[in-house]
């Protein structure tokens, strides 16, 4: 009699191992459906896990860059609206200067004009030191202090930095945070550095009786006010361009977030239809295998012998 037989133990071991395999597969598919993730751990698919990590990093940074861009847009808009107000203010000052330059306006009228000009000067100063929503000065460049200071004699000086610094809004893209006060309110007048404050101050002083010929002084001031208006117009244009740029970057960010999300979903998310089909398939196989096991395992000679 040979020793090679169909061992009962071997049959049970084999069947159990096969059913355990099926069960494990079902468990895995179920977990994929429940969590929505294809990968439970990195070793399930190392390359996909690495891709998911880099997507997660890119997403985290893109979210922050998006916030940065939104805040930058707000700061730029705040700066632009201040400068627009300044433009209106300078236009009013120009009207006043034209009035003062006309001979019919008497000394009293000039006095009144001087008074209004003085108020406009005050407003100009406070607008130049305007702050953003979070309380940072809009025109001080990289400095956190006031952009302009006024000494006892009324002379206004720019104390910010000449650069305003850039904010990264996308990989490799940084947009200047705003404009330093020196390029909004200061300009070059016939080869001499001057500023909107100086022009208005000089005119006010002249109309208040500081000049022997106020009409000539008012005419002279017109040139300075025009230069100041040119400068603020240029500033508004620059800020407007940057705001448009920021908006464009924000739109791109939105699209990139969608692309990233799509990519993450493609790499790491469970395809529900596929998973459910596979689950059904495994369940059928397990059921069939269980009932086959039950039948075959009852097929011993002992059952036949009564």
């Amino acid at each position: 009699m040979g020793f090679v037989t169909n061992s009962a133990g071997s049959f049970f071991n084999r069947s159990l191992a096969q059913m355990a395999d099926l069960r494990a597969g079902i468990e895995r598919t179920r977990a994929q459906i429940a969590t929505g993730r294809k990968l439970e751990r990195g070793s399930d698919d190392p390359a996909a896990a690495a891709q998911l990590r880099s997507i997660a990093r890119r997403e985290a940074l893109a979210r922050v860059e998006g916030d940065n861009a939104a805040r930058l847009g707000q700061d730029l808009a705040a700066g632009a609206s201040e400068i627009e107000a300044v433009t209106a203010l300078l236009q009013r000052a120009r009207e006043l200067a034209v009035q003062a330059a006309s001979t019919p306006t008497g000394p009293d009228g000039r006095q009144a004009i001087a008074f209004e000009l003085e108020q406009l000067g005050q407003e100009l100063f406070s607008r130049a030191n305007a702050v953003s929503l979070t309380g940072e000065p809009l025109f001080a460049g990289q400095s956190t202090g006031a952009a302009f200071t006024r000494d006892a004699a009324g002379n206004v000086t720019y104390v910010g930095t000449p650069e305003s610094g850039a904010v990264p809004v996308a990989p490799g893209t940084a947009i200047e945070r705003g404009l330093p006060g020196s390029s909004v309110f200061e300009f070059d007048l016939n080869g001499t550095p001057s500023s909107a404050f100086a022009v208005l101050g000089t005119l006010t002083a002249a109309l208040q009786g500081g000049a022997p010929d106020p009409v000539a002084a008012a005419n002279a001031a017109l040139e300075g006010i025009d230069a100041a208006l040119d400068t603020t117009n240029r500033a508004v244009t620059i800020l407007g361009t940057r705001m448009a740029w920021t908006e464009q970057v924000e739109a791109q960010q939105g699209e990139r977030m969608i692309v990233l999300a799509e990519r993450r979903s493609r790499v790491g998310d469970t395809d529900i239809a596929d998973a459910i089909a596979r689950l059904q398939q495994s369940l059928t196989a397990l059921e069939a295998s269980q009932s086959a096991f039950a039948r075959v395992s009852s097929l011993t000679l002992f059952d036949a012998l009564r």
């Binding site: 009699m1 020793f3 090679v4 037989t5 169909n6 061992s7 009962a8 133990g9 071997s10 049970f12 071991n13 084999r14 191992a17 751990r41 990195g42 070793s43 399930d44 698919d45 190392p46 390359a47 896990a49 690495a50 990590r53 880099s54 997660a56 990093r57 985290a60 940074l61 979210r63 922050v64 860059e65 916030d67 940065n68 805040r71 930058l72 979070t134 940072e136 460049g141 990289q142 400095s143 956190t144 202090g145 930095t161 650069e163 610094g165 904010v167 990264p168 945070r177 011993t300 000679l301 002992f302 012998l305």
Partner: protein, 446 residues
């Protein structure tokens, strides 16, 4: 010779009863994986007497022979070797998977990315206290995640080491047990049930040893087994009735070294070899993790030293410590984050220095890339080990099935034997009955 018929019937009865007992024993042990099925050999009993040329045969029935045990040294060896290889791969796989979970779930990578994101957000407005504070707290979280990773890795290492120590004791005990079996086998008589049971125990002990260490057993003619552990150098574990002690010691970096009876050796296979290589890889992981933490520390502190804080003073170190175990935030106040380059005045919103720090963190030698490649390397290794363990488990399962086919109990076979032996027993009883009737017939003659 009516008495001969009685003797023949009785011998038949006794032989079939003993065979029945053995069949019952086989059935009872059908689910015992260490049991090798037995059969009873039988021999015809004939007595021949001769005087001169006259010879007379006297039939004596059947003689129950020896108990034979289904044995197949080759298949046993195949099953042992494949189980040994599988144990090595599985031990390494489970240990490294533990390490993978430790590093992945501790969130080292996420911590680094969050710190990078907080720094990027700070660039928007470097003087805002909330943003500064959140950057420092993100750094604290990153440091905390490094420490968690360090702790969980140490935990995983500790588990493997504890397992190795416990299994070393088990191996020593199994070796002592095998030595005792060897001693008993020398005195056990051939063909007895006791000897068959001892041989079962011997094969079981060999299988147990093979799971932990790759072994080269030598089966001697008397059935005893001498065991040499395969490795560098090969060392004798069991020789006859003497067994050596196996011990394992761990170096400071967690790697294991083994010795048998005082002789150091490097195992060539089995779960212990798997654990040893897992421990060596964990030591490498620890080195990489420490290097990663130290690069995170150094990049941040170098950037701090190159710039000035909100108050215009030179930046103080952001992180303290030298590795993943002791990295922590040492900067006293968030105002001390050196966002502005050296020479900038107090309250500067210049972010040149902060941008340099972000660039160095995001660079190819920065911690984010380092953590990514560390995780990628580890998970690739775990994935490869899993594939290997799966392949080996198929091989081991088929070797095990082969072994069971050679030595296991087939219930159908045993059921058929039961019927056959029962009939034989009944037939022998009938023979005795016939003999009794013959006697009665003779005694009844008048």
């Amino acid at each position: 010779m009516p008495t001969a018929i009685f003797t023949i019937g009785r011998s038949g009865l006794s032989a079939s009863r003993r065979s029945l007992e053995l069949t019952a024993q086989n059935i009872a042990n059908a689910s015992n994986p260490d049991y090798s099925r037995r059969v009873l050999t039988q021999g015809e009993l004939v007595m021949t007497g001769s005087i001169g040329t006259n010879s007379v045969d006297s039939l004596g029935g059947v003689k129950p022979g020896t108990i034979e045990r289904a044995e197949s040294a080759l298949v046993q060896r195949q099953a042992r070797d494949s189980a040994s290889a599988l144990a090595a791969a599985e031990a390494e796989f489970f240990a490294l998977r533990e390490a993978e979970s430790a590093l992945e779930t501790s969130g080292v990578f996420t911590g680094i990315v969050d710190f990078e994101a907080a720094l990027t957000r700070l660039q928007n407005n470097p003087t805002e206290p909330a943003l500064r504070l959140s950057a420092v707290e993100a750094g604290r979280k990153m440091a905390g995640n490094f420490r968690i990773a360090n702790g969980t890795l140490a935990n995983a290492r500790g588990l493997v080491q504890a397992e190795a120590s416990a299994e070393a004791l088990t191996v020593s005990e199994r070796a002592a047990e095998l030595a005792k079996i060897n001693a008993d086998l020398v005195s056990a008589r051939e063909g007895t049930a006791g000897r068959a049971a001892l041989l079962d125990a011997r094969d079981k002990a060999l299988r147990g040893l093979a799971e932990e260490f790759a072994i080269t057993p030598t089966i001697n003619a008397n059935g005893t087994a001498d065991v040499t552990l395969t490795g560098v150098p090969p060392v004798a574990l069991v020789t006859g009735a003497t067994a050596q002690n196996v011990s394992v010691t761990f170096a400071a970096d967690g790697t294991a070294s083994f010795s048998v009876g005082g002789t150091p050796f490097v195992p060539g296979g089995g779960a212990m070899a798997g654990r040893a290589s897992a421990l060596a890889e964990m030591a490498d992981l620890q080195t990489s993790l420490d290097a990663l933490a130290s690069s995170a520390i150094n990049l941040a502190n170098t950037a701090q030293a190159n710039g000035v804080g909100l108050d215009g003073n030179p930046g103080q170190p952001l992180f303290g410590g030298t590795g993943a175990g002791d990295i922590n935030i040492v900067l006293a106040s968030a105002d001390g984050l050196a966002t502005a380059p050296a020479g900038a005045p107090a309250g500067s919103r210049d972010v040149a220095n902060l941008a340099a720090l972000i660039a160095s963190y995001a660079g190819p030698s920065g911690p984010a890339t380092g953590a990514d490649s560390l995780l990628l390397g580890l998970s690739s290794r775990v994935s490869a080990l899993e594939t290997r363990a799966e392949g080996l488990s198929v091989v081991a399962a088929s070797a095990e099935a082969e072994l069971l086919r050679e030595t296991g109990v087939d219930l159908d076979d045993e059921a058929a034997n039961l019927v056959r032996l029962q009939q034989a027993f009944e037939a022998n009883s009938r023979v005795i009955q016939v003999a009794a009737e013959l006697f009665d017939t003779i005694l009844g003659l008048r």
